[in-house]
């Protein structure tokens, strides 16, 4: 489902003397359907950078990233948007939403975007919020006012609302209590069982061991002596 080859990435800081910082070279990764691959490496090794490149959020300097057959490094914006809508989900560490929108609608939005009927989308959203133990009295409020843990769970609910064939999970279990952590791991297992290809970053080693089929140490892609 996800095939990465010869991927490199540099940052050019035009406003700081044009410094060029190479951050990745020879990146490679392969994720099959129903498989979960954990990205490991020290902080700053480029785990999140790689994940963002898969999502099309960062541009690649060279190489290719095939997601369900589409090369993200060369795709048109609308192709990437269609990919994100239908195929590629991303649970980031931070919730970014329009202020004022009710939590229930935030979670239902990815379903509305793929044309699911409003009521059916809300029904799915209710189920996920219930599973993730967001009290019902909060559903009509905007998540912008929630605690960090609550926001994280809303973010996860949103990421799992539509059954994406590919999922990117950036620290999905961070700052969660044991029960909610268990729920999230359950969601990941279910996604794998339905054939989703998953790339995850887990600092929580026990969680990583439980859901990941294998891991990739991204430090090996770090350019030597830049």
């Amino acid at each position: 489902m996800i095939e990465i080859e010869g991927l490199s990435k540099t940052f050019t800081l035009h406003n700081q003397g044009g410094v060029v910082i190479p951050v990745m070279e020879g990146g490679a990764l392969s994720v099959a359907r129903g498989e979960c691959v954990g990205l490991v490496g020290t902080s700053g090794a480029g785990k999140s950078t790689l994940m963002r490149m898969i999502y099309g959020n960062y541009l690649a300097a060279s190489g290719r990233i095939l997601v369900d057959g589409l090369d993200v490094t060369k795709a048109e914006p609308r192709e990437i948007l269609a990919l994100r809508r239908q195929t590629l989900g991303y649970v980031s560490q931070f919730l970014r939403v329009v202020p004022r929108v009710a939590t229930l609608d935030v979670v239902a939005e990815p379903l509305l975007a793929v044309g699911v009927h409003a009521e059916a989308a809300r029904e799915t959203a209710r189920g996920l919020l219930t599973r993730l133990r967001i009290p019902e009295r909060l559903w009509s409020l905007s998540p912008t006012s929630f605690s960090g843990g609550e926001q994280q769970r809303v973010n996860i609910a949103r990421g799992f609302a539509h059954e994406y064939p590919c999922l990117l999970l950036d620290e999905p279990t961070a700052s969660l209590d044991a029960a909610n952590r268990e729920t999230v791991l359950g969601l990941i297992d279910e996604a794998k069982a339905r054939g989703a290809a998953i790339v995850g970053i887990f600092h929580d080693e026990a969680a990583r061991d439980r859901v990941c089929d294998h891991t990739v140490d991204v430090s090996i892609f770090t350019p030597k002596a830049a």
Binding site: N15, R52, N57, Y58, R96, P99, R100
Partner: protein, 257 residues
């Protein structure tokens, strides 16, 4: 395979020797929202006005997919055709609501004008449709006979949107639609616009200098400087991984809250 709704080719506009905008080239697909950002004088408003037929570009083509399916160059088409487009398939939301509203006409009359312009002649139906649209932009039915002069800035802006969308346009041009509004009012307007864009499958081109607005509304971004497009791409990619020196400066200049 979908085809573009709008094909813009090498648009240029000069004010004497000064460049308004030059060599602007892009395609806009149905349902896409494109943001154009840049500082004052970067040419973004000139470009928008060239695209919307308010200014005649000195060079280039703006081809629009008509309801018949054929692409027509709106720069060279006859004025009646172009004006008909701007009453039906196009909408233009001005930064200042008073530029886009008739301030001496009631809210209902403002919304109804485009319907009457395309031949609606049943008062009851026009009024019903106007009230329905006021509701969609969160203006109470009880305000239908009030003039926009009695409305707050945010309400005026929502009224302008209703007035523009009532004929079911396919392409909306917006010039700083949230400029001059309080932050809380902006958020409400943005949410409303997002919902309408999704429900109606609208394509939109939004000119703004507010990067937060484009992050929430736009799928794609074009960054302009001195009349030229210096960078374009997926909105979050351009904002999170800007490639051009000017974009990097623009992004790093935003105050964090």
């Amino acid at each position: 395979m979908t085809t573009p709704l709008l094909e813009v080719r090498d648009i240029a506009k000069f004010y004497g020797h000064r460049i308004g905008c030059d060599k602007v080239d892009f395609d806009l697909y149905p349902g896409e929202v494109m943001g154009i950002v840049g500082e004052s004088g970067s040419g973004k408003s000139t470009l928008l006005n060239c695209l919307a037929g308010h200014l005649t570009p000195d060079a280039g083509q703006v081809r629009f997919e008509m309801r018949t399916g054929e692409m027509a160059d709106t720069v060279t088409m006859s004025e009646p055709e172009r004006r008909m487009l701007s009453r039906t398939d196009w909408a233009f939301v001005h930064q200042h609501a008073r530029d886009g509203l008739r301030m001496n006409v009631s809210a209902g009359g403002n919304v109804g004008e485009r319907l009457m312009a395309v031949g609606a002649r049943h008062y009851g139906n026009i009024r019903e449709e106007a009230i329905d649209w006021l509701g969609r932009v969160e203006i109470s039915e009880t305000r239908v006979d009030d003039r926009p002069t009695a409305f707050s800035g945010g309400m005026q802006q929502r009224l302008q949107i209703a007035r523009n969308l009532v004929t079911g346009p396919r392409l909306v041009f917006m010039d700083e639609p949230t400029g001059g509004l309080d932050v809380s009012v902006q958020a409400r307007l943005l949410d409303l616009l997002r919902g309408l864009v999704r429900e109606m499958g609208l394509s939109a081109i939004i000119v703004t200098h507010d990067l937060a607005v484009v992050r929430l509304l736009a799928d794609r971004l074009m960054v302009m400087k001195d009349g030229h497009v210096v960078e374009s791409g997926l909105t979050d990619q351009v904002l999170d991984d800007p490639q051009h020196a000017y974009t990097q400066l623009l992004v790093s200049s935003v105050l964090q809250v």
